[in-house]
Symmetry: C2
Subunit: 232 residues, 2 copies
Amino acid sequence: MNGISLIPVTGIGEVQDGDIIAELIAAATTLEEGDVVVVTQKIVSKAEGRVEAIDPDDPLAHKAIVEREAVRVVRRRGDLLITETAHGFICANAGIDLSNMASGWAALLPVDADRSARRIRDGLKARTGLSVGVIVSDTFGRTWRKGVTDVAIGCAGVAAVIDLRGTEDALGRELQVTEVCVADELTAAAELVMGKASGVPVAIVRGVDPSWLREGSVADEIIRPPSEDLFR
Amino acid sequence: MNGISLIPVTGIGEVQDGDIIAELIAAATTLEEGDVVVVTQKIVSKAEGRVEAIDPDDPLAHKAIVEREAVRVVRRRGDLLITETAHGFICANAGIDLSNMASGWAALLPVDADRSARRIRDGLKARTGLSVGVIVSDTFGRTWRKGVTDVAIGCAGVAAVIDLRGTEDALGRELQVTEVCVADELTAAAELVMGKASGVPVAIVRGVDPSWLREGSVADEIIRPPSEDLFR
């Protein structure tokens, strides 16, 4: 297998309600067939108008939106709310945050980030003729491990989870670990060239295994149904 | 910021008890100053003799080792045990698995994977004169999200968690999300060129932010103390 390149896309600028993300990406960089394009949730939410005015002087304004958007509070300690969202994500503060937002505005999660990803993929296909995978990323905490990492909240044209069942390991023994969440690994990789502070909202992962470039869905493949869940 | 390259290291071959991992890596590839070298736990455990014979015809043999190595069972359902290890990791089956092992052998986790990483880093420095970061990786499941991803269980010469407190976002607002687990993101990225089935046990991440190349420790920086934990 050859190597993979992680390439930051700069020059996207401030995104506004109604902007077409695929147009901004196509103008800012040159894609190649089979690229995976990772786009941060923040600019997707802005382009889709998923922002809400809040009173910057009211310390409870953010919390009020969190309580409204969460379908369930899984854990609560002090100001920290671990919530389940309507999408089935379990994350802090219903995924709503204020960083990289103008004062007085909060960004909500996209209504359906798989659909957001499909829209960007289709737009890139229409403009460039290229088939690429698209992932919408967000920053989540984890149980038991400190520090946040970026994960996929939506995808299109790229697998969320690949199933290695029936595959043998290097010694010819059938693999025990069979389902790998490549979408989250691609997203974590992309974050390495984005950074939280540098305002690079898009990165390209170039050189991925072509077999991963199939239809994919975070909602269908990654969200663990409550019935299979041991921790909620 | 420039891009990052993910480079698989092939030709390591089967690793035996007593092998010096740094020697094998230095012979198989050409490193550059500031590279981060990600090494799978499986070959570290083999080189350190952290393997144990099990009866391949006894379906409970694996489970017996898991029960012995776990300091606590966090959740149990059917054959699945979510365990806390002596290191403080919470993972399935105390991190013990049989894939990429000869029949009749199980691999245990290294006693101290930060130390394993320091040993590899020192060995690479001695052989090549280069300062590199080293991460020991393993494959863990996650709460709430299906599919496994690779995470760091030890590191040396590279930060586990970077703290962005006091950093401003692209709009000049102080960041809310401040601690990013770059070690886990580097590890997930490396897995993209390793694969579970292809038997590539080492990958290089080239071009990382030089400020990440400091002393680091998974035990000190990533393991969340039980007192701060909401899910055990």
